[in-house]
Symmetry: D3
Subunit: 231 residues, 6 copies
Amino acid sequence: MSDRHVVVRSIDRAAQPDIDALAAYGTATVHEAIGRRGFLGPDLRPIQDGISITGSAVTVSCHAGDNLMVHAAVEICMPGDILVVTTTAPSTHGMVGELLATSLVARGVRGLVIGAGVRDMGELRAMQFPVWARCVSCEGTVKASPGSVNIAVVLGGQVVEPGDVIRADDDGVVVVPRSEAARAVALARARTDRETATRERLAAGELGLDIYGLRATLAALGVEVVERAER
Amino acid sequence: MSDRHVVVRSIDRAAQPDIDALAAYGTATVHEAIGRRGFLGPDLRPIQDGISITGSAVTVSCHAGDNLMVHAAVEICMPGDILVVTTTAPSTHGMVGELLATSLVARGVRGLVIGAGVRDMGELRAMQFPVWARCVSCEGTVKASPGSVNIAVVLGGQVVEPGDVIRADDDGVVVVPRSEAARAVALARARTDRETATRERLAAGELGLDIYGLRATLAALGVEVVERAER
Amino acid sequence: MSDRHVVVRSIDRAAQPDIDALAAYGTATVHEAIGRRGFLGPDLRPIQDGISITGSAVTVSCHAGDNLMVHAAVEICMPGDILVVTTTAPSTHGMVGELLATSLVARGVRGLVIGAGVRDMGELRAMQFPVWARCVSCEGTVKASPGSVNIAVVLGGQVVEPGDVIRADDDGVVVVPRSEAARAVALARARTDRETATRERLAAGELGLDIYGLRATLAALGVEVVERAER
Amino acid sequence: MSDRHVVVRSIDRAAQPDIDALAAYGTATVHEAIGRRGFLGPDLRPIQDGISITGSAVTVSCHAGDNLMVHAAVEICMPGDILVVTTTAPSTHGMVGELLATSLVARGVRGLVIGAGVRDMGELRAMQFPVWARCVSCEGTVKASPGSVNIAVVLGGQVVEPGDVIRADDDGVVVVPRSEAARAVALARARTDRETATRERLAAGELGLDIYGLRATLAALGVEVVERAER
Amino acid sequence: MSDRHVVVRSIDRAAQPDIDALAAYGTATVHEAIGRRGFLGPDLRPIQDGISITGSAVTVSCHAGDNLMVHAAVEICMPGDILVVTTTAPSTHGMVGELLATSLVARGVRGLVIGAGVRDMGELRAMQFPVWARCVSCEGTVKASPGSVNIAVVLGGQVVEPGDVIRADDDGVVVVPRSEAARAVALARARTDRETATRERLAAGELGLDIYGLRATLAALGVEVVERAER
Amino acid sequence: MSDRHVVVRSIDRAAQPDIDALAAYGTATVHEAIGRRGFLGPDLRPIQDGISITGSAVTVSCHAGDNLMVHAAVEICMPGDILVVTTTAPSTHGMVGELLATSLVARGVRGLVIGAGVRDMGELRAMQFPVWARCVSCEGTVKASPGSVNIAVVLGGQVVEPGDVIRADDDGVVVVPRSEAARAVALARARTDRETATRERLAAGELGLDIYGLRATLAALGVEVVERAER
């Protein structure tokens, strides 16, 4: 961050095979695998069920109520990127709609993650353009205030650096630092393998209490087991 | 507004051709076309995707937790109307359910916009009765306090006068003053024409930066463009 | 409630025929029938449309950010039960996901009501496992703090005792005290019968004003009826 | 309201004696006296205890994150006025601080009511400049977007017309339509007289149940009075 | 709870010496001492700093927007009682003001805990009448709907039974079950004694890490201690 | 950030003269001077009026509902430091009270900034220990989950690095990157000098419209100035 406003044209991205490999794992798995980090919070919701994207973050920092810098960012986007839009103060404006989505699709952008509102929901859903947003709003923006593209931004309590990997699905959005993408794939794969084994045991009726060894934990914490409640 | 409680039986409505014509334009377009006014805020959400209505507002002002005046309003509604229900203090009660919806349908009412809760979601969706509401709640209301029908009300930070045109779709609800309906149609049409041309250019890969002449704006605001971030 | 942490293994449940009979009535009807009680508030939303469950509450009280006691509760659940999970302070963590849901399904549990978050939405929906939750979140929990299973808990401003009947559908969740289940069925049936008759009259164009005798109420409250608004 | 942006220089105000007379009555009294209208909601809080102002509204409508129109409004203010600032979408920016307050004091403005944030709390309190605001925030605004001065605005669910009388104290802010100021004084005086008599009776141990005749209401509503709870 | 509305005139209270003894301990101490229970949540705030009360709960359940049952409750209050007011759905109304406070003072009531709003803040503060409330609001209520007095109510996620002991101070409100009052005094005293010793050690520069033996916990949890951050 | 949990014992701090110099400028001035950055949002409020601190951040990242790492952090604090406590998911627990404050005072810590709750308000105020927090809550925490000390944390949408300068007063909290402390002092001084000159002109009756040259802006934006509103 800086007190200048800047558009950074070229950023480093993670290796494409790692990005593609991450797409095989859900956001909750990725979040857990990398040490319970990177979840952008429960307020960023998909605008329709079943959408799922993985790609490189192009970040935008806008003044609230102003989408000028989103336009500046479109030019910087490369195929496979995901636009991550933030505002310097809370905003419920509909900052992006069908026209900007059309432009993003033309650039090969895979989706939008935005800490404010979107509009033209009917059109966005019909286009099947994947969006995670805080709200839906008709409220229009101006194009009058400076901001930045491809600087580190904060969204949902997480730092997103340009080029970080964004993974988003029905559970929300997770950011993986660019330099950790390969490791995240390995960790997610390992976790998934473990979970597959656990799932089979649970489906067969075994208990998490036994699988995870939690009976000892309960006892150590002083939790009493009684057959009936006292009256 | 007044300190009396009153039910006004007859109101003026916009010309039906103008109301019907507005139905061709989405709420975001209408909101923008009339000067970024009239959006009833992101908290009023449709109870199912893809519903869309246009009609004349019959307004209701209720005491919180009391739906007596909704019943009084039903009698006043004409075919093509939209019931707009407000409370004098915030309320999450389920003020309207399947029975009132049945009654509204019988009156030819096109839908409901309510600054509180609704209930019987399964039935309302099965009936395909269009509703925009703040929340869903089983919580019942009483019928014990006075209120008014067809007075000016405030909902989502906007004034709705009886007879104003309501336009609602997946993006939310917009109100157009009755006297501006014809002008709103013309403005929405003009905006849509402009957007159609812009959409084609954006789809072909042109940038909003160029189409809207925003490069000069960025420069004037002192936004620097750099190839790489400094380290 | 108590200052000890306890897991109660055996609880009394309502008679199965009463539980099954309640499933025929929507939550709003049940809530109204038992005297406008038991609604767990508008914040507990179903994770998909059209799901509906009825069963006996197994209650869980967890420390925020900790799902240890959910694991302890799974063992206690019987076929037909519904798990009701609360936290002792507000939490947005994703406390339950696909693995725990798999375990609950293996126990014959009919669904989950949780005053915090869930995750693995895609999987939960694919499994058709019914869940009512406050939010969706990837955020992981620990298994390190004591809590209780099958004590009285508070959720959405309502007390849920173990063995109470839970009824949940598109409108949300309602709790019926165990000892009142039979009476609730009778009351819900009576209300439904009345509503069926009323629905027919409303559909035929009669007004609630007349059916409920509200014209006298309006007059007694001093609500004036005028033909036209004064200017 | 209109789709043009306009600064209206001259407005009508209520008669000064009526404005001064209203200052003798608290906001709750005024709100009740005029028919439970005009309260601008619980979110507008005074920045210090014990401040109280009465004056004529000069209204401002700003784009969120932009205080340009506040500057435009200062010039229009007359001694005895109260500045009422709104934004066209929710904003938490600190739109007004010590410098603007200094300017407002120089114009004889009695205080500020703002549906967004203020800053320089230490200085504002030291100046004893009365402010009712939604929040306190350092966050700065730009001066780049058009808006209006002295048009009807909506704040806290109430319409404020330029020249309306603003009454604000520890309970919050109430607006009285300009044309009703004299009547509001009479109504508030009558209510206060009644309350004085009631206060004496209550202080002497009489009950509201008896003074207001509520025992009959309770009986009519079917509220049972029992000596002891059933077990 | 029940589907009838009832006013229970006589309730059991804790022994007065126990109530008085609890007044010596802060709410946080009491909450901790009885097993981290009974805190009515961070939304119930005192209307002025430094107020502190202890007494027996007289409970009220009101319909939202209606204070009829508060009047019914005043008659039931005894000297030393604390009125605990709840609504069956969320409400921001100013349900209690100076007149009701005057009446409560005349009955010897020690204070008010209310899950909605109050008004006449200036007068309440001048009277030094202790109040914990969710908000301040001029908004008036009606007296038209039934409710109950001295039934179990839920406030801030806690059950309050009539006759329970209420302890309130700058930190908020804590409820102690009536039957546990004596034990709560003993537990609070023991905790306070321990804390006094700990405070002295901490003030002398000892660390909680050592006093509570947390270094082993950190090590067991795998927290690494490093001299310098890696770059 | 990392998926390990770590306590970093030694951090770099800004030069003490720069830290001390910043204390002369209010948070709003500092925030503006460094380019409208660093404000930790309107939700972090001081627990009493008139408190003001400046110092170096020692950062803490805790699991929600767990204050173990706060204890770990105390040992790391040096005289002049400010403890900055965050949680990995939202929490309203009272994580810090009088005992921890006593310990912090013994270490020479100047104050606490915490993105959750505090308790023992009466004692904290009596100690005059400066705290900025999200809420006040009795709710107790456990000491069972790992976290980190002196890693980069996010609070109120801002990144705080260990050793950054914290400036807090009645307006809230601002963070200045450690490496920019000297520059921030110079910028704040320059801004203050400019504001002093402006304040005098405003106090003398000059208008911001003229001082800032905003009349041209209004004209360029198409804002019309009219003498009277049209009817």
